[in-house]
Symmetry: C2
Subunit: 203 residues, 2 copies
């Protein structure tokens, strides 16, 4: 990317974030240096530091980008019925993962792992999606089990989408059905006051 | 832990691994130094290096410990029926997570994230559990969607167990039912050749 003078500040920032997501998705955080990022972007280290004070700040900015897009994409039209909203959100999410596989891999699998700020971004995005669902479903704070299992369902969707896209994105319509069926099963079983005798576990 | 001469090599190693799992579960990998580990263990840095050549080696050894335990604990009695085996494995897994919450948090959420060796251990453990299930269920390599969704179900269990234990481990028997119901829904819907009209998504 020579001739960087052609870019505005905002375009340059956008370009750097795209580059970062590509790099961080391909190799571990520790292996990628500021030198490499600057070199790949065709700019000086000094200019890169002007945009992002450290490699970590750059990484965090990249993740925030994915988080914002994911949050936007999973907001379904509020005029739809609950079932239609779930289908629309899941479909949009799968489409996003398919088109942005590397970025989503970085987002889901993490780049610097247990780093608290990074974890706060990825976990914050999951929580936002999860809380939106709980609110829409009218789940009270006392329904502990349902809260736990809906949260786990969000991870189910996340991993299903990633593995599905990595497997060549087969049968999208049917995957949406599986995801919806899992949600229905989770809600029904979590809310049921008592397990029926035939599927009660042996203790 | 003064008076380290009382410990055998194997006991010392075990003690160091337990200490490491506790430390890595509590704070990010980057914040924990070899000095701190040695200090907490009441031994010299030199002796610690004798057991583990680097902090990373130490961390990887800790994760391997959790991986081995998880693999062992989820192996159900082969004489049980498929449904009973799933219930027994899930029940054992939940019990393990409840008793070893910090270690499981470190295992599931990662300590050095995208590090390839670490990812290989955690992902390898998931894959082993997943492949055991696929084999038992007789899933062919062509059933792509089912393979993807069973893999996602494994993550569902992992996150459900963690969130459940963090929420104070309420209603274990019912959580097992939710996990089994989710698996049944996932298998049924993934294997169904065609979605039925009433739950087909609107396109």
């Amino acid at each position: 990317m020579p001739g960087h003078a052609r870019f505005t500040v905002e375009e340059r920032r956008e370009h750097l974030l795209e580059l970062g997501l590509r790099l961080f998705a391909a190799r571990p955080y520790d292996e990628i240096s500021i030198e490499e990022i600057a070199h790949e972007a065709g700019i000086s280290k000094g200019l890169l530091y002007h945009y992002f004070p450290s490699k970590r700040d750059f990484y965090v900015a990249c993740l925030r980008e994915v988080a914002a897009e994911l949050s936007l994409i999973t907001r379904a039209d509020p005029r739809l019925s609950p079932g239609e909203r779930v289908r629309a959100s899941v479909s949009a999410y799968l489409g996003y993962v398919q088109l942005n596989l590397l970025n989503c891999q970085a987002f889901v699998r993490g780049g610097i792992g247990a780093d608290p700020e990074v974890a706060a971004i990825t976990e914050g995005t999951r929580r936002a999606i999860w809380e939106r669902m709980l609110e829409r479903m009218g789940v009270s704070s006392e329904e502990l089990l349902l809260r736990v299992t809906i949260r786990a369902w969000v991870s189910f969707v996340e991993i299903a989408a990633l593995e599905w896209a990595e497997a060549g994105a087969p049968e999208k319509g049917q995957l949406i059905e599986v995801i919806v069926a899992a949600l229905v099963a989770v809600i029904r079983t979590s809310r049921r006051p008592e397990a029926t005798p035939e599927d009660r576990p042996r203790r």
